[in-house]
Symmetry: C2
Amino acid sequence: MKATRYEQVAERIIHLIQNGILKDGDKVPSIRQLSRELRVSVNTVKEAYWKLENLNFLTAVPQSGFYVNPPTTSAGSRAEPDPTLLDPQKVSLCRIYGSFQNNGQCSPEISLSIATLNPELWPTEKMGRFFQEAMRNQEFEAYNYIMSPGYGNLREQIARFSLACGLNLSPDELIITNGCHEAVFLALMVLCKPGDTVVLESPIYFNLLHLLEQLNLNIIELPSDRENGINLDTLRFVLENQPVKAMFSISNFNNPMGFVLSSMQKKKLVQLLAEFNVPLVEDDIYGDIAFQERPDVCKAYDLSGDVLLCSSFSKTIAPGLRVGWIAPGRHYDAVIKLKTLLNISTASVNQIAVAKFLKAGGYGRHLRNLSKILKTQIAALRACILTHFPRGTQVTNPRGGFLLWIELPAGVDTDIIYRNALKQNILFAPGRLFSMKDKYANCMRLNGGIWNQRVEKAIAHLGALAKDAL
Amino acid sequence: MKATRYEQVAERIIHLIQNGILKDGDKVPSIRQLSRELRVSVNTVKEAYWKLENLNFLTAVPQSGFYVNPPTTSAGSRAEPDPTLLDPQKVSLCRIYGSFQNNGQCSPEISLSIATLNPELWPTEKMGRFFQEAMRNQEFEAYNYIMSPGYGNLREQIARFSLACGLNLSPDELIITNGCHEAVFLALMVLCKPGDTVVLESPIYFNLLHLLEQLNLNIIELPSDRENGINLDTLRFVLENQPVKAMFSISNFNNPMGFVLSSMQKKKLVQLLAEFNVPLVEDDIYGDIAFQERPDVCKAYDLSGDVLLCSSFSKTIAPGLRVGWIAPGRHYDAVIKLKTLLNISTASVNQIAVAKFLKAGGYGRHLRNLSKILKTQIAALRACILTHFPRGTQVTNPRGGFLLWIELPAGVDTDIIYRNALKQNILFAPGRLFSMKDKYANCMRLNGGIWNQRVEKAIAHLGALAKDAL
């Protein structure tokens, strides 16, 4: 297949980098300059640079230009740059996803792999009492359908707590779901039809990639950095050049990268998407677990009703409840219809018990306590990793949530560590799970929701395996 | 648009009927005979006759031929026969579906519209105890994810009870869902992609029609009679001539028609579908509520793994639990993957509590007791309808479940009765909801799950409105 013009331009730049003519940190020629030099259009150069950014060769710095990346950050993909990588592509099943899912059971060592809290942090005593109250005093409601949009008192409480994230939701804007996953499923299914293209932050929570594959959607992965998320200039370029149908973002305590978009970034993101009429599916499942102030959400800047905010109580109360929610903006009618056709409604007694906890059970106090504990846990886990893992390992330092993203020195393959760790019953999420592009081979995500001596020992094991793999 | 050849043949027969040349009960010329007479192919005549059957002009009698129907049974659709009616068509929203859903709340008069039991029949005391036990003694399981396929003890119990319907399921063949609706959703989404064609019994449970629309599926509605369901010769004709991707059937105590397919019919249906490699989504949600013997299921005759059996405890324990299941045969892997991506799992404590009831709570006794009560209720409701409704009204006489299908004399429009009844806060499901073809205008479905004096009074009101509408 003949390379297109922008691919030729991109290959030229790669050639310059690989031959040491352009070095780490160098600014590459401006788009206009290269356009003149090579006698190609400005858009061709833009496309080439954007592609190189996605391949981790370049980084865009707003108001400045494109810079050459250090070779370490892209060892995996730089070996054989694939010119087709940037096109919207059909998501295909990651080869180790199967074994990852099948091993997802529950010892502390194993739960390093999934985002889950220490069960001791679940408020089970209180919840047990609220379940009992619901079944005794509201028998009819507790056993009957509570038709979608769901239990009124629960929606009221969620609306009340939404003030903390810069929103002023009405209960009438909310629909209760079986967890945040279902909320995202409903949003994507309402917004997109098979063959449509969705833009994502990369790396991204792996189940989302598989959901997109299941819905036969194409994806564009925009590289995000651990501090600031994606580059909005890159996003604009994509929106200008690709038929994007929706964007998905975990804007607070991103899974896996940990970043929080600043209020200004959130506002700009929402404005940019609105300019192109592209809805945003915002997953805020970790937003309530803030070590300092609770960050706001993109939806706080939503004027068009095109931000669909999704969350749940799986990370803050307990995952087995399966109680989540969506505020779908102007897509409310479509989402409530699909929810009804999907499973009519969410389990009733579960909704009532959560509503009781939010109303009278000290949920706010619980969140503050939980965040305090997790802050300490994450610091301990982080220190432990930095002690045991090889020199040059980088670990994110999130201000909320309970996930860490670890970047090992270039050349380490965490798939190999994964297979060896499994023999010792230690399970984590290897980096390749977080992209469909064979990226992040030297990365892994660890769950910091559980911290004890067994976890500490498991980290030491992983560190040793990582050193072996060097 | 020019009529196709088979449409021309069909119009010729309609002309003969409308001019009284072919009369009620007359046998029409055999397919071969007409093929010779009109010099068209045998298949053209077949297609024309099948279309006329679907339009309610003719009835196929196996091993005999096609007969002219009495004019009353098809007054609604006969007025303006639409030659496009028989093509697989895009399901479009029934115009009164919206108002029906929005009014679906809970007084006895209103609950004539949805298929729901008298809350007094829910075993709430036992279930409350089992919930409490689960949360006290199995705290970790009750609050954690119970990953799909779902709680092992529950799957074991469902497998044990499956013996009663002619099955010998293994727990490993089952996946727990949020109710039967979700089971059917998963099955259809796994089997079909947008644009595919699904065959249904007609009339059919209205939410299913809307689900098919949501999934962008085309439907073929096969007329079913109140005793025997669909005609298998007609089904064969459809399978021979249309690209059918799946069939959906409520084989026991059909919603709304009440029929039970005999074991022989079930076996033949499964064999016929297997011959064409067409999977069957079997909804057995009413199967456990049998006034006499518990009927078997189509899945009992499934040799290819292409029957996906769906059910739940919404009609037998309580709907608010949202606990159902699917036995997806050879589609197990695809269904469990989709279920995980949809909402990870079903609420844990709900699964454990139902498992406890099935294991030690006298679920079998509960079912026998429930069926006995419902048999009496349905008889009383039926007698009440026949007392108050106009002469010529026909009411189904089901041997299980708790739904009645009522056919009023030709010319009565139950949409008008619906609107008038609503003014008195009485809600039922008008016949047009059960087809996308503007059929069943003179029909309605009533819920027999609740029986008391208020319901009796509501039936008397409905009867008076029906007489007014004549």
